[in-house]
Symmetry: D2
Subunit: 334 residues, 4 copies
């Protein structure tokens, strides 16, 4: 059985397991006062070349919603793509954590927000005076459509945000894949929710706060929402291993390469419905072929919001190249 | 250095690490649809001899507040001891998750609620009509004072709750220690927040739902608060190991025994300010002795709400017997 | 100066003032236990031919958001038109009162939801599983576009709601105008927010609960949000006067007739951009004419979301027929 | 029938009715942009000799909870007396509006907070670090016990607040009675919820903001909680009449005088259980006398939290002196 349903069906990198084992030795101050968490913060300052605060977190949903709650008042508007995970997949987490802020969703090709559309939407909300108060923009990179904003595309969006006094959040559930794909940078970001679970940790993502004015508030929200574990070191250890020796990047490069190989192997025989910039392939597959692939032991998800017969295949840090080759072989067999 | 500040300064049981390693192999359905989580549920049904639902959770704070939010309307009253962790240590988590419910705190000797006091408080709130609507009672067992409610004490409280139409929550951050101490049972409990982190897991506690009418609501709350990890199996695996072969009980027995040994070793020379039923010793220590102990490498927490010069010492599943002996030796030396 | 900016710039019906004066005599039980509130409830049961509960309320925003909060869980989806007042004009009131429910907005010509679009949106949200749980539909009648759903149009929408297990809310800020226009009925409605302020009271609208299972919860929400005044009788008295002897309907008929007269008087010279079913006229006016009208003492609001140069003119229960004639005369002068 | 249950069973001052009638003429900008609201603000600046913002509000509960929500973060502690209306009578309004802040209740003789107790409670919460973050103190003047803090008592409490970085809220549901009794001033107050409904208006209290940094946030909260009526002028008109020509003070002086007369008339025959500083008398009445008084047509409330057989009698702006005399006559007859 080969499972392409998501990158979260995979296990974890062996380096992460070993880091947990090491962290289990001895005693440590609880609630984040430990040395591993301190070391993680130093590593992030170095990696991002900035004085950042970091908050390890159990899930991307918590990471996104806590970050956004620190960036918007309860009556604020959070601008995002209509397919954004924060809107479609988190059961109102942002609304809950923020005390009722509004997600203003915007259409955009390739899963991306476009600057003119963002500007128009901000204007409309601002002019309404009574819908919500424009507070921040949230983009996902790599996007939910498997595309990656380039550094220039990000800059153009962040310029619109800054000009309008909005803060900038990036849902980086697949940030590593975006960096591996287009060398994206963190300039202009107030808070990055830096994913790791989909790319090698067990259950540990990281909130990276560039705008440190937000940290105190965020810290309070973490505690009272049960997202500040007493043995924080076991989250931090995973993340430290993830960021050591470029494990995060090499994992992402492998995942991206596997998706590219998959796309290249089937493109002649199928409609690829979104550009494959990262580790996700959206492809139209006719029903008989779906059956053949399932019979051959492959699992993947249907994705009806991208059209009829569209399926999503996700590769990951531990995807075996031979499984890609087998998939292509079934797909291209006649 | 020997750290008695809390049981959460410790690492984890080796069985838990091995379970995580095993869980890292292969792929699994995400968000709790995996086989390990299913197996954990079966194990709990067997252990509690009841058809329960289980929700692994990152922290006890999340476990408590999510459980209580499912048991009270936003205008409900949650009755608890004035020293309850849900009131003193969670920065308003219950208020946040419930949408503004009220904790009604009650005094009680030995960290315990007493039935007549509970009844009086329920009556007062009910008669007020406009303070809050009595919704549930939450007790902690073992208590924050290191004592343990006996089965009879629990039954008497739960009778008051049932008679008044209130639901029953138990904060079992140290439930294993309570079972090891007084063979307590789960009869009459609607939801148990079953602690494990303080007693051998990395970061995994368990919400055990006996009143399954509450499960659907609880499941929604978990997701939208970021407490439903995609790789749920890594929480479930820890808990399954914890509940296999009575690891949870043997760990707790050891912790309790170490606390008893500590108490017995110093009782002749010091005032023990709370009965030591579980793994916590509250003791009055004169300042010069505090200095001597610290110099000898011991760490522990001052506990001013229990009086001047009172300190808390917590033992755990991995506390070394020789460290207890060294502590006693420093303490009783003259 | 003649003010067509909204129906809420007007004063109140003299009958309402006299009812307040009468209510000011003697003493009454507070918080809604008074005789006037009891009498209002009886009048509503008679008027709607149903056993209803009623909750007088200060504003339509409160009426809408409190009603919706009683009809949706915090993770629910409330389906509404993209121009709905609850989305555009209440600064997140529904999100606030409900604890973070999601408004799912739907496009629809003439300010109306259309059954097939509603059904498609419900399906999409239901299939997503993780966006929100479909909970209720809210329509506005008369709509924000000045149109009125016919009884058949309402029935078709409510059938979709019922088939999908959704509750039905109607924002009836201009319900009287809808009844006056198309004899609409309340069949199939769970809660009606029955407007009065725009049509003759000072500051008093009415929540009418047909599905009385929702009343207890609603009553709690009213109190804790400061919407249960101690001298309730002064709200109830306004509403009782409003519903006595068909004042509500005759006021609305006048307002509707004035809007029709306005439309008829200018239609040959201007583009009327929405059908005029009730008391609102949306019309495109060229800038020089805007200036002439303002110079002649008329005030009205620009309405850019309906297109460039579009303005909204609202008539009301006390609109003077001669002011309409003067407006037409300026408009058609050359 | 003479009703001493509360001051909110009464009607309103004739001046208030006449002001509403005047306000009903002509048209006005809605949502508080009207001339009456502007004039009310000017009157308050003059009255309080300060540059204040004012927000008319339907109820004292809304006024208190909205004010406090603007003064505390969701994880804040609001210190108040254990008998405070915000704790006992508002069904968790402060918890709801603030997003889960904690009321920390403090005992205190005569319904008053005492500086040393306040300081101790602040210290305890601050030292806990994880209960809540001290944010503000709320006192009620006149108190729920019918006593009045003197200017010196207020100053001493506010000094504690300021020294600890806390904001100051006053629940002035009976502020006029406090001014009439002890010439209290507003120095040191951030927000005053200035009651009027109990002392002559229909349904209109006033939030007076001295610390204008809080106004923008408060304004948003008003709107999204349905507490910003479109025809704001009808609230403002009541309050303007109330503050014109010292109506507020003369009404309160009458109410206070009636309570003093009542107390003086029965003091020789009964135990007065709280000092009568304002318009409330708490008195112990034996059951047979309760029966006699009820038979004679008097109504009043039992008040068990102040002891067995204790009753509350409230006088008001329109209490008839002869009704007091009749009450005394029944009470002292033998």
């Amino acid at each position: 059985m080969t499972d392409f349903r998501s990158d979260n069906v995979l296990g974890c990198s062996p380096e992460v397991l070993r880091a947990i084992e090491r962290a289990a030795e001895g005693t440590q101050t609880s609630y984040g006062g430990d040395e591993i968490t301190a070391s993680l913060r130093r590593r992030c300052c170095e990696l991002f070349n900035a004085d950042v605060d970091v908050f390890p977190v159990l899930t991307g949903t918590a990471g996104n919603a806590l970050a956004l709650a620190a960036m918007t008042p309860p009556w604020g508007a959070v601008f995002c793509h209509e397919d954004a995970h924060i809107h479609r997949d988190e059961l109102g987490a942002t609304e809950f954590f923020s005390g009722g802020a509004k997600l203003i969703t915007i259409k955009g090709e390739g899963g991306k927000l476009h600057p003119a559309d963002l500007e128009r939407s901000i204007d409309e909300i601002r002019n309404s005076k009574k819908t919500a108060v424009p507070a921040c923009v949230s983009i996902t990179n790599a996007t939910e459509a498997g595309t990656v904003y380039s550094p220039d595309e990000m800059r153009a969006l962040f310029d619109v945000a800054r000009k309008n006094g909005l803060r900038v959040h990036v849902d980086g559930a697949r940030w590593a894949n975006a960096v591996a794909s287009k060398k994206v940078k963190t300039n202009g970001i107030d808070i990055l929710t830096f994913g790791a679970t989909k790319n090698g940790t067990l259950n540990a993502d990281l909130i990276v706060v560039f705008n440190r004015n937000l940290s105190e508030d965020l810290s309070m929200r973490m505690h009272r929402s049960g997202h500040r574990p007493s043995k924080m070191r076991f989250l931090s250890a995973q993340l430290e291993a993830y960021l050591t020796g470029d494990l995060w990047l090499s994992n992402a490069r492998h995942a991206n390469a596997m998706a590219a190989k998959l796309r290249d192997g089937i493109a002649a025989n199928a409609e690829i419905v979104r550009p494959v910039d990262a580790n996700i392939v959206f492809v139209r597959i006719p029903p008989p072929m779906v059956k053949s692939l399932e019979t051959a032991g492959f699992r993947f998800s249907d994705w009806p919001i991208f059209g009829p017969d569209v399926y999503r295949l996700v590769t990951g840090f531990s995807t075996d190249e031979s499984s890609i080759e087998r998939f292509i072989s079934v797909f291209t067999r006649r």
